[in-house]
């Protein structure tokens, strides 16, 4: 095999499968989203009518609003915690840090389904472990699975699952910061806080951006956790998140054409969301750069 043909041969398995399960279905979905199936009259071309319907659907927008609120609160908390833990590990202040990092990472390997079952059971207001603890202390037991708290519970589950993953990513990036840089700053009399915030954190901007990127995508696509929890509580309806809405229109409502349009809309919103995060990152870097200059 010559070295002109070789890259194509190495890429062939991936590209073929990529076309089969990604590009093909996407084009097919784009195509179907432009049609409408009617009980009488079969399938007719309807242009952007399905998209117009999505724009007017209060169920779609209420789910989107919910995940946006969720993301604005949960993502910074999770990334803040991950950054804090990564800095503490990086400073060698914690004994057995290696064991700690492995344990932090473990929840990431728990299936979302099992996580939701587990937390749902632990937080159940009658026999759950948390309710038992609260009862021992003599206080009234709040129903954490009701409509006012359930989103916070999902936030706790997601934070529990992903904080360790992000801690490891940021920690590795911190380890990559050349030691000479921090040593020089320390010899110049910089304090611990200055070393952390002014030298280390700006240099791991890329790792933070990646974590934010994955977290934003994950938030907009929230499905398994609320879907499983919906069998524990009536507080989660069938259009609680955009993905649940799309799922229920497609499979309960059998409106495949409309669901395809809604999922394209979600893809579009995801892209805008990621661009906003990336734009914010560039803005931060620009500020950092002008301060130095």
């Amino acid at each position: 095999m010559g070295h002109r043909v070789a890259p194509y041969a190495f890429l062939a398995p991936f590209v073929l499968l990529y076309l089969l399960v990604l590009v093909g279905p996407l084009l097919y979905a784009l195509f179907t989203s432009l049609f409408t199936t009617r009980l009488a009259g079969g399938i007719t071309f309807s242009g952007l009518a399905n998209y117009a319907r999505v724009l007017q659907s209060s169920d779609f927008w209420s789910g989107l609003e919910r995940v946006l609120v969720f993301g604005v609160i949960q993502v910074p908390i999770m990334l803040g915690l991950a950054l804090l833990f990564a800095l503490l590990f990086d400073m060698d202040l914690v004994p057995m840090a290696k064991v700690y990092r492995l344990v932090y990472f473990l929840p990431f390997a728990v299936p979302g389904v099992v996580a939701a079952i587990l937390w749902g059971f632990m937080l159940e207001p009658q026999y759950g472990a948390l309710a038992q603890l609260i009862r021992i202390s003599g206080m009234g037991v709040p129903n954490l699975l009701d409509s006012s708290s359930i989103l916070k519970v999902i936030g706790v589950i997601v934070t529990w699952q992903a904080t360790g993953f992000n801690t490891v990513i940021i920690y590795t990036a911190l380890r990559g910061v050349p030691r000479e840089l921090t040593e020089a700053a320390i010899l110049d009399g910089a304090t611990l806080g200055v070393v952390m915030l002014r030298i280390k954190v700006p240099l791991v901007g890329k790792a933070l951006a990646l974590s934010a990127f994955l977290a934003v995508i994950g938030t907009l696509q929230l499905f398994s956790e609320p879907y499983i929890l919906s069998s524990y509580t009536p507080a989660i309806n069938s259009h609680y998140t955009p993905n649940m809405y799309i799922y229920s229109t497609a499979f309960a409502g059998e409106e495949y054409n409309y669901a395809a349009a809604a999922s394209f809309m979600l893809a579009l919103i995801t892209i805008v969301g990621v661009l906003v995060v990336m734009g914010f990152r560039t803005w931060v870097e620009h500020r950092g750069g002008s301060r130095e200059g």
Partner: protein
């Protein structure tokens, strides 16, 4: 730098020594990290403790400590015998889908990442950009058309329907490319060519051994993704015998919460949950020396 004495005296805690970290800071650091350590472990501890209880104790005894007869073995026995042993099928299905899907994803990603990293060729930029772009596609946007297409070609209720999408890991290709960029020097490939080795031989004999940590990371990420996948199997399988653990357990959980005679399912859901979450964790712990999830932080380089 003149601080080598300090470092030698204090071992790896060099920043400590240089900064003279105050005791309060150190204590605060330990409290904070131990706090999250306990939070990370607590639900796992709870589910392990709960898997040793019978149904009554599961509801009535204190959730965070062992109580009553040690029921783990009984629970395991009923777990694998309930419903004509359907849980065993789910477990084997999951191992099969994950082994073929996750293992295949690693090989395919390594090949593609190698091509993107060590060759220049027409179309490279377009392919790479579309791989990055595909990370933004919501899973429902794919799963629904995949389902419709599958139902036309008979892939609904077929193991292929689960495995083929699991083989495609855009983030795996991306990570392999980033890893190979930094770990497989061009010189070593050129040297192989000068010695007359073919491109495939160079890949298998010279480059592959250098790619192991990157490949292990991709393997673990794709194993976890396939093992934990819920949405795809939930949609494409209607036959219980084909379910993976995630879909099977969620079926039992919803039957258990629905109440009635199915209440006895709860100990099985809990014990099944332990069986379902143990393998990926053990794999992570065993392969800890090799994985470099941190190499994700080298990603997003441009």
């Amino acid at each position: 730098m003149g601080n080598s004495d300090v470092r030698a005296k204090h071992g790896k805690g060099w920043t400590d020594a240089l900064l003279g970290v105050r005791l309060q800071t150190r204590v605060a650091a330990i409290i904070l990290t131990t706090g999250f350590f306990l939070i990370a472990l607590l639900p796992l501890y709870w589910i392990v403790v709960s898997s040793t209880k019978n149904e009554t104790e599961l509801y009535t005894s204190f959730g965070l400590w062992f109580h009553g007869p040690f029921f783990l073995l009984n629970n395991m026995r009923s777990l694998f015998s309930y419903g004509a042993g359907v849980f065993g099928h789910w477990l084997l299905n999951t191992i099969f889908y994950t082994g073929v899907g996750g293992g295949g994803a690693m090989v395919i990603s390594a090949l593609a990442g190698y091509a993107l990293s060590r060759y220049s060729f027409g179309g490279k930029k377009v392919i790479f950009a579309s791989i990055i772009g595909s990370l933004l596609v919501p899973m429902t946007a794919l799963t629904i058309p995949i389902y419709i297409l599958y139902s036309k070609i008979g892939f609904v209720n077929s193991a292929f329907g689960m495995i083929i999408p699991s083989l495609v890991s855009p983030i795996g290709v991306y990570l392999m490319r980033v890893y190979i960029d930094g770990s497989v020097p061009h010189e070593i490939i050129d040297a192989g060519r000068v010695d007359g080795a073919g491109e495939l031989l160079i890949f298998t004999r010279i480059a592959s051994p250098l790619m192991v940590p990157g490949a292990v990371t991709v393997l673990l990420l794709s194993v976890v993704a396939t093992w934990n996948n819920y949405f795809l199997p939930y949609i494409i399988f209607s036959k219980e015998a084909l379910y993976p653990l995630t879909v099977g357990l969620s079926l039992w959980a919803s039957q258990a919460t629905a109440g009635g005679s199915a209440e006895q399912l709860y100990p099985l859901v809990v014990t099944g949950g332990v069986v379902g979450l143990a393998p990926p964790m053990i794999l992570f712990a065993v392969l800890q020396r090799y994985w470099r999830v941190g190499l994700l932080s080298g990603a997003l380089s441009s």
